[in-house]
C-alpha cells in the first residue's frame, strides 16, 4: 500500500514569510498527526485530527500556525508569519485505531518537509 505522502520535501523561506505543507495519509486512516522535529530533538506533536475534527492542538502555536483537514483525508499545515525558530522538519503521520482489549494505534510517518527559515 502507498505510504504517507508529504510535499514539498524541502522549503527555504525568509522570516515573516508564509509557508504551507501538504500531507496525504494512508488510505482509510482516520487519524492524522502533524509533528515538529527540531534538529537534535524528538518529534513534538503539534496537532491531531480524527477524521476532520481536531482531537488535540494543545502544542500548536495558534498565533502563527494553522492546520486543516476539511474532507477528512489530506491536510495542510500553514505557518504565517514564519520565525527563525520554526526551522525544523515537519512530519505527518497517520493511523487507524484498532480498539479491543488494548488500544493499538500504530503511526505511519511520511518522509517529512525540511523547513529552513533565514
Amino acid at each position: 500500500e502507498a505510504g504517507v505522502a508529504q510535499s514539498p520535501r524541502y522549503k527555504i523561506i525568509e522570516k515573516r514569510q508564509s509557508v504551507a505543507f501538504w500531507c496525504n495519509p494512508i488510505s482509510g486512516h482516520a487519524t492524522l498527526y502533524w509533528y515538529q522535529q527540531i534538529l537534535g530533538q524528538g518529534p513534538k506533536l503539534l496537532i491531531q485530527f480524527q477524521n476532520n475534527g481536531v482531537v488535540d492542538d494543545s502544542q500548536l502555536p495558534k498565533d502563527r500556525f494553522s492546520a486543516e483537514r476539511l474532507k477528512g483525508v489530506d491536510s495542510t499545515l500553514k505557518i504565517q508569519p514564519a520565525k527563525l525558530e520554526d526551522s525544523a522538519v515537519y512530519l505527518c503521520a497517520s493511523s487507524t485505531r484498532d480498539v479491543g482489549l488494548a488500544i493499538t494505534d500504530t503511526q505511519y510517518f511520511g518522509p517529512g518537509t525540511r523547513l529552513t527559515v533565514l
Binding site: 505510504g3 504517507v4 498527526y33 509533528y35 537534535g40 530533538q41 524528538g42 518529534p43 513534538k44 506533536l45 491531531q48 482531537v55 488535540d56 512530519l91 503521520a93 482489549l101 488494548a102 488500544i103 493499538t104 494505534d105 500504530t106 503511526q107 505511519y108 510517518f109 511520511g110 518522509p111 517529512g112
Partner: protein
C-alpha cells in the same frame, strides 16, 4: 500526565555485540509504549510496540523490548548489532484515558563500530 526519558543521547557498540538502549517513562494511566527508528534522510519506522498484551515484545530486525512496570522501563535490546542498525532511536509513550498525549523521547543515536 506522561513523560519519557531516554537515558543516553549516544551509544556506541561494536558490530556483533549486544545493543541496549534505555528508556524510562512515567504515566498516570496504563501506557502504550513504542520504539521508532529513524535512519538518515528517511522517515520514522516502527520497531515494536507494547500494548499490555505481553511484557516481552519482539519487533523487526531482531530487536525486542521488555516492559517492566516496577521499574517504569521499556529498554530496547538486540543480541548482535549490525552496521545497518546505525540510526536514531526514539522511545514513545502514549496513555489512553484522561490526558491522552503522545510524547517522544529526545532520541538515542546508535553508532556501530566495525
Amino acid at each position: 500526565a506522561q513523560s519519557v526519558t531516554q537515558l543516553d543521547s549516544h551509544v556506541s557498540v561494536s558490530e556483533g555485540t549486544p545493543v541496549l538502549l534505555r528508556c524510562n517513562y512515567s504515566s498516570s494511566y496504563s501506557p502504550s509504549l513504542f520504539w521508532y527508528v529513524q535512519h538518515p534522510n528517511k522517515g520514522l519506522q516502527l520497531l515494536l510496540k507494547y500494548t499490555s498484551a505481553a511484557t516481552l515484545v519482539k519487533g523487526i530486525n531482531g530487536f525486542e523490548a521488555e516492559f517492566k512496570k516496577s521499574e517504569t522501563s521499556f529498554h530496547l535490546t538486540k543480541p548482535s548489532a549490525h552496521m545497518s542498525d546505525a540510526a536514531e532511536y526514539f522511545c514513545v509513550v502514549r496513555a489512553w484515558g484522561g490526558d491522552d498525549k503522545i510524547i517522544f523521547g529526545k532520541g538515542t543515536r546508535l553508532h556501530i563500530l566495525p
